[in-house]
């Protein structure tokens, strides 16, 4: 085994999934990221942390990415980036400015040799060895649903709503400040920890009860949460159970997480619908909370009885269990794809990039990338 490893170790390439909140970094052929770090850099002028995705302009983003990629390569990967390939896993809905600027930074500033760009919704299926699925990615900024049919992302059916970690944190902040006087400006890192340590997605009947004026059930126990050393605040049982409720509260257009999935399904060919609903894949950090899958199933079943979706004729709903943690599912797909010859066959080389001076569109690109 060691001999094999030392032979193959020369071919290790960096895989990057730059998420809105966390960046997953690791190497090809490995089954988990080496590190999951916050997607922020220290601003040299203000000495404050800045989120990469909060960029003001393409030039601003260029500088942020230069700093961020530097940290990745020289603090974590410990690899000189020059003349090395890199695998980038990104959302199909990734803004053009971000994609173009990232390519510019990697090719011009870091002089990398190749860039292999993979759509996150597609590659996360690699670890399941399936080619069709309804992929639901609930990240930090938004939840994005894209059906994948026979290794083709049906991009026209995409659905996205700002339902993710950020919205949950804001909801939690509101809930906490109404039950604790004097607590308003909690830092987001504290809110995130309250979320992952105390909160969960409750069952539907409990959610309905807790939402009514006079609940007939007892809430789960309160938690005394320490704040900044000596002080404590109370995270009530109601808050713990209701923090995630906004995922299923329909907005003015009657849209929520469950309707997104079914709306996407309506855009897909009739024959494929049951296959997709029998293969739901949940990815993204926000789906890791206890009770998420069970509640989503309940909500989907309820919506399917609705007039709006009854014509879908769905008999069974089935979920996949990933062989990894959901927050790095897309990364793992990238690491699996990157370990194959596809890296050399389908990558965008520096020479091509300099000649064309732009990235190929996803539309052209998708034609080229489908394996398995």
């Amino acid at each position: 085994m060691p001999i094999y490893e030392s032979l193959s170790s020369d071919k290790l390439s960096v895989v990057l999934d730059i998420g809105a909140a966390y960046t997953k970094f690791g190497f090809t052929g490995e089954f988990s990221p080496r590190s999951i770090i916050t997607s922020e850099v220290l601003c040299s002028k203000t000495k404050k942390l800045r989120r990469i995705w909060d960029y003001e302009s393409a030039e601003d983003l260029y500088d942020l990415l230069v700093d961020f990629i530097h940290v990745i390569f020289f603090k974590y990967a410990l690899l000189s980036p020059k003349d090395k390939p890199v695998i980038i896993v990104e959302s199909l809905l990734c803004p053009t400015t971000f994609r173009e600027t990232l390519a510019k930074v990697l090719f011009y500033h870091y002089e990398m040799s190749m860039m292999f760009i993979l759509p996150s919704h597609l590659v996360c299926l690699a670890s399941l060895a399936i080619d069709s699925a309804m992929v639901v990615d609930v990240g930090y900024k938004e939840a994005v649903v894209i059906p994948i049919c026979y290794s083709f992302p049906v991009v026209k059916a995409w659905q996205a709503l700002p339902l993710g970690g950020e919205a949950i944190h804001n909801n939690l902040r509101t809930l906490l400040s109404s039950s604790n006087t004097g607590i308003q400006d909690l830092p987001e890192s504290t809110l995130e920890n309250i979320k992952v340590r105390c909160c969960f997605v409750t069952k539907k009947y409990r959610a309905d009860q807790l939402g009514s004026a006079k609940p007939e059930i007892a809430t789960c126990p309160d938690v005394k949460y320490p704040i900044g050393g000596a002080e404590h605040m109370t995270v009530t049982g109601k808050v713990r159970e209701r923090a995630f409720e906004l995922l299923y509260e329909e907005d003015n257009d009657h849209l929520c997480l469950s309707t997104m999935i079914l709306d996407a399904l309506l855009q897909v060919d009739r024959d494929l619908r049951q296959k997709l609903m029998g293969n739901i894949v949940l990815i993204g950090g926000s789906v890791m909370v206890p009770g998420f899958k069970a509640r989503l199933k309940e909500e989907l079943e309820m919506q399917l009885k609705n007039n709006r979706y009854s014509k879908l004729n769905i008999s069974t709903i089935a979920f996949h269990s990933l062989p990894c943690k959901e927050n790095y599912a897309a990364f793992l797909g990238g690491a699996l794809y990157g370990a194959t010859e596809l890296l050399n066959m389908k990558s965008l080389t520096r020479e091509t990039y300099f000649k064309e001076n732009r990235l190929p569109d996803w539309i052209n690109f998708k034609e080229n990338v489908h394996c398995a």
Binding site: L78, I130, D131, C220, H320, E341
Partner: protein, 506 residues
Amino acid sequence: MAYITGPDVVKYACTCGLLKPITHLYFCRYCTQIRCSFCVCHEIDSNFCGKCSENIPSSEARLKKNRCGNCYVCPSCQQDLSTRIASKGSANPEEAKSTPKKMYYLLCQFCRWSSRDVGIPDQSTVTGGWPKRENVHANRLQELVDSYKAIILASKKHQQDKEKKKRVKCLSYTDRTGVTAAAIRKRLGLPADMTHPMLKNRPKNPEPAKAKSEVEDLPDSIFTEPLNLAEIMSIEQRLLQPEQQPTTVDKLFPVHKQLSIKRSLRCRSCEHNVSKPEYNPNSVKFKIQLFAYYIIPEIRIVTVEPLRSGKTSELIVKFTNPTQHQTTITFFELDLDEVESVVTEEVAEVAESFEQSLYLQEKQQLSLPSLGSLSQPSSLLASRTPSITVKPRRIKEDLNCKIGIPESSFILLPRDDAAEYDDSGDSHNIQDDPKLVKWRKSNKAFIRLYVTPNEDLPLNSEVTCGFVMQHIYTNTITSKVENKEPQQYNHKVKVFLTLGNSVGCD
């Protein structure tokens, strides 16, 4: 120290267009241009562990996933864990003497987490074979990787075969003449088509995963049992172990310490190092250190009169010559729109001999019996593709204050380390322009300048001015190698001064 850590009031423009304090800049002697960490190429020189200070060759570092095999950090607070000896108390003291069996465990001195907390048995050796968590899905995932690799390889092969066939088809005369492809191959001296039949078969697709209709429900206890916060990990603690992401305290395992690196910096125009550290992790010295601080005169603001919009104030700045060579400072007007900023004169005529000497230098560096050549063999240097240089950017700085450019220039004497101990007073006989030079001592000079903030400057706004400083850079590389007179160049630097906030008239 304050001028290193404090606000950067004096900034120099790097060739790439960024403004930085002089302590953050490099000076490439070969290009005679300023460089900074943004515009040089960073390379990893060596890997080492910050705790045990052991150098780890890059191949071994890769194998160990960039972590030290012997040192661990606390999974709870990320501080270094220390190995503790467990006194294995025996009831019989004589027996304890005869068999001193030491056992070891890991302890965090900061948060008191210990390897015993999670039930890891004490180890009999210091380095310990501390157990690793295995990925339960590893087998399945390895199977997938292997079959994907095979599938892609097969399809690549298939494609190549198709292309080959196409090419053969082009020689369509084979059909008419009745000559078979095999015969042509033979005639052309090509080996017969001997594709292994195994490779022609498509590899099997891996077994797809099955989705389940039954999903795991919340345990009923979650609604009734009180939550023990001390047992539930924070997000930072979970992400420290990305593979497992332990949610409860009993699943925390010691984490191998991440290695650190030493970096060398290379000029992207000429491929020479501007900074290269010594190999030994304990050494803070450099083999190559072309810091601008050693070459370019340093400027510090001494005093400035209160700044009022439209009014002229006196500004005293101190110039210090860090080099062993006398230099002359001349001021020029700053023009931000000028693209070719750094003008180096007299370069062309010496270029050839210069390059030769560089080559010699480089060779000498490589033949040094240092360990450096181990980490970066000469073949590696040769195979490097030349760097691409990125176009310099426009300097982003709003100047809101005019500075009177003095017509005369002044001389800065070379640095003399002994001068500090010399009380005999200033023995220089330099004819200074008394309007310009206020005072001078050894390699320092205090210069009087006049600044006028713009008329329309609002109260309490930060006043920034700039000028171009030309100094004489004496290149000593050529002279050392060929015993020639050192070459001198006029080197221009754009300097920006932040003078403080404007005040109202009183």
